[in-house]
């Protein structure tokens, strides 16, 4: 890693921990709420992959852009979307980030540079290229990140976006999240067990493959990519490997496609929060009780968000026909 990009200080590491814990708490809680019947629709949980969203967004400025996927809660939280606004949206309530009209698969917050989750695999990747083009032409120095899954990386729109970004030398970072599966189809099948990174190299885009459980590794790789983008060096692909804790979609699969005990091992041996906590407390600069305090504070915020979302009103029926056009 280039020196000018590495070296997160203590506060940044703590902030990363807080972000990751917030995502974990949020997702574990959404899992329960969904099981309890409070949440409608299609919900794809990010738990297990927190270090990717947190590490990537820790390397971004507030006004940088991200285009997310159907599994977008972690991206939104890491980019600074309001927790209550997100939870309300997931519940489909008034005051949700999209007024309840988008739901989990379409959470967006343009004021935070979050261009939206997306219901179409790789559907948001070209949008990130467009945001990068906009930043480049407007000369703002902003960078755009396109998140895509291992399965979405097989979409033509992703391949075309790599080419377009290379040819136009766009300030964009492609973040591939290899979580082992596309729905219930494993990467061993749909990627032939391969990495996605060589597809970027093939069109002249430099790439890095990092441990997606390691916040620092993800941050450093992204920071280098962001530095390249900001300084006119064009696109980069960062591939992060981190498996999900839950099934593909809430209420949909019983994860029969996973080997027995796989998820337990995952939680026991590859918990990004445990890893970061170790790193933080190693030199004694942070105590476990400091982290416990953070955990409590985070839980309180998530409790609040859930209580708020449950209590929130339904959108007004007129909303059905608004926002189709600016004018028509």
């Amino acid at each position: 890693m280039a020196n000018d990009t590495a070296g997160l200080d203590r506060d940044q590491l703590i902030a990363g921990y807080r972000t990751m814990r917030t995502i974990r708490e949020f997702e574990e809680r959404v899992h329960e709420e969904f099981a309890g019947g409070g949440i409608p629709g299609a919900v794809h949980l990010y738990a297990g992959q927190e270090a990717v969203a947190a590490g990537v967004c820790a390397a971004l400025a507030d006004n940088d852009y991200i285009a997310s996927t159907h599994r977008g809660h972690g991206h939104g939280i890491a980019k600074g979307c309001d927790l209550a606004g997100m939870m309300r949206e997931i519940y489909g309530k008034a005051g949700g980030l999209c007024g309840g009209k988008g739901g989990s698969m379409h959470i967006a917050d343009f004021d935070r540079g979050m261009l939206g989750a997306n219901g179409v695999a790789a559907g948001g990747v070209p949008l990130a290229c467009g945001a990068a083009l906009s930043a480049k032409l407007r000369g703002t120095g902003q960078v755009a990140v396109a998140f895509v899954g291992d399965g979405g990386a097989n979409q033509g729109a992703f391949a075309e976006s790599l080419t377009l970004a290379a040819v136009w030398r766009l300030p964009v970072v492609f973040v591939v999240e290899d979580n082992g599966f596309a729905q219930s189809t494993g990467t061993r099948f749909h990627l032939g067990g391969r990495q996605v990174a060589p597809r970027a190299e093939a069109v002249g885009i430099s790439s890095a493959v990092v441990d997606g459980y390691d916040f620092v590794a993800v941050h450093d790789a992204t920071a280098e990519a962001v530095h390249r983008a900001r300084t006119g060096g064009g696109p980069t692909l960062v591939e992060c490997v981190a498996h999900r804790f839950f099934g593909h979609m809430e209420g949909w699969d019983r994860q029969g496609y996973r080997s027995p005990g796989e998820v337990d091992r995952l939680r026991a041996e590859h918990d990004c929060l445990v890893l970061l906590a170790k790193q933080l407390t190693a030199d004694g600069s942070v105590s476990t009780s400091d982290l416990a305090e953070i955990d409590l504070a985070v839980r309180a915020r998530v409790d609040e968000a859930v209580a708020d979302a449950r209590a929130a009103a339904e959108p007004d029926l007129d909303e059905l026909l608004t926002d189709v056009y600016v004018s028509y």
Binding site: K101, L191, G256, R258, E319
Partner: protein, 345 residues
């Protein structure tokens, strides 16, 4: 002898029976067998293809998320001796492989002067109601009905779903097969043996002489409950389910309107350039003299589907909307019946 099956089971039974009957039938799509390549056992096949892998291990398989490639592969395979049944999952994903449907599957036979056949079936889940939001709740069959070269099938019952799928697999042209996600667990009598339901032959779901209601897919059931309510007021509606929107059985529709003098079309798709307007305009052109009131089209609004359940429930046409439309067109019965010789023959 018939059994009660779900719509989903009925589609699956047609797939299984045709796989048994014809070795050239192959089935593929994302997760169609569920998790190929994972360690240990297969994971999570679901929907109509569930269980087919066990009986036909070499003729049903998973695909990577490559719709343009595998739908195009279905076209190429169909043109070279197979009868592929490809699974789009949600019809909304036709967006990522639309060229292969619009410019390849639909046009190949014509462009080569009839020297090719493209016997493929593209399965697609459609419709609102599942709280999936704007990108997973569309109807879109009007877009496919617009395209010459495609056949478009929209079954409303388990029995029709099985018979129409059987016909679709045996048909020599490309067929887009629309499965309404909110009908998957609806149940009904389904004959156990294989049978075909011909394309282009509407089903009269309910007979009546006062108003013709043509309804598509899930809307057939809304139309039937509207007809029940209207019957209480002595208004006897005829409910017609076209079953296939391309080809479309206009004869049955015209004949009905010539008896009833009134037409209401119920279409869950968006209103502009939809099937509702398509049918209503054909009637206003070919059975105009029989109309004793304005045609009425009841559709979803010109808006994407919302996520919020309350909003989404207000999105597609309801039985109440249909009742209101029937009342409105009958209230405005202003034309004298035409003398016999004026009737369009």
């Amino acid at each position: 002898m018939t059994r009660i099956l779900s719509y989903l089971e009925a589609v699956g039974e047609a797939l299984a029976q045709e796989l048994r009957r014809d070795p050239s039938v192959v089935v593929f799509g994302e997760d169609n067998i569920g998790g190929t390549g994972c360690d240990g056992t297969l994971g999570h096949a679901w929907g109509p293809t569930k269980g087919l892998h066990e009986e036909f291990p070499d003729r049903i398989f998973d695909t990577p998320i490559t719709e343009a490639a595998f739908v195009g592969a279905a076209v190429g395979a169909a043109a070279t001796g197979l009868r592929p049944v490809a699974d789009l999952l949600f019809v909304d994903f036709a967006g990522v492989c639309f060229d292969q449907i619009l410019n390849q599957a639909a046009k190949l036979r014509y462009m080569v002067g009839g020297k090719a056949r493209v016997p493929l079936v593209l399965r697609a889940m459609w419709g609102s109601g599942m709280r999936r939001g704007a990108q997973h709740s569309q109807a879109l069959y009007p877009i496919f009905a617009h395209i010459p070269g495609l056949k478009v099938v929209v079954p409303s019952t388990p029995a029709d779903a099985k018979g129409l799928m059987t016909t679709a697999i045996r048909d020599d042209d490309p067929v887009i097969f629309f499965e309404h996600k909110m009908l998957y667990f609806s149940r009904g009598d389904v004959p156990p043996e294989p049978y075909e339901i011909p394309f282009g032959q509407a089903r009269i779901a309910r007979a009546g002489d006062d108003c013709t209601i043509v309804a598509i897919g899930r809307m057939v059931h809304e139309a039937l409950s509207a007809a029940d309510q209207l019957a209480a007021d002595g208004v006897r509606c005829e409910v017609i389910d076209p079953r296939t929107v391309s080809p479309l059985d206009t004869d049955t529709i015209y004949a009905s309107v010539r008896r009833t003098g009134h037409l209401v079309v119920v279409d869950e798709a968006n209103p502009r350039c939809g099937v509702a307007g398509d049918i209503a305009s054909s009637v206003a052109s070919e059975a105009f003299d029989a109309l004793r009131g304005p045609v009425r089209m009841v559709t979803s609004p010109h808006a994407p589907a919302p996520f919020n359940p309350t909003l989404e429930d207000a999105y597609p046409p309801s039985a109440a909307d249909i009742v209101a439309a029937v009342r409105a067109t009958r209230r405005r019965s202003v034309h004298p019946t035409m003398p016999e010789q004026e009737r369009v023959s």
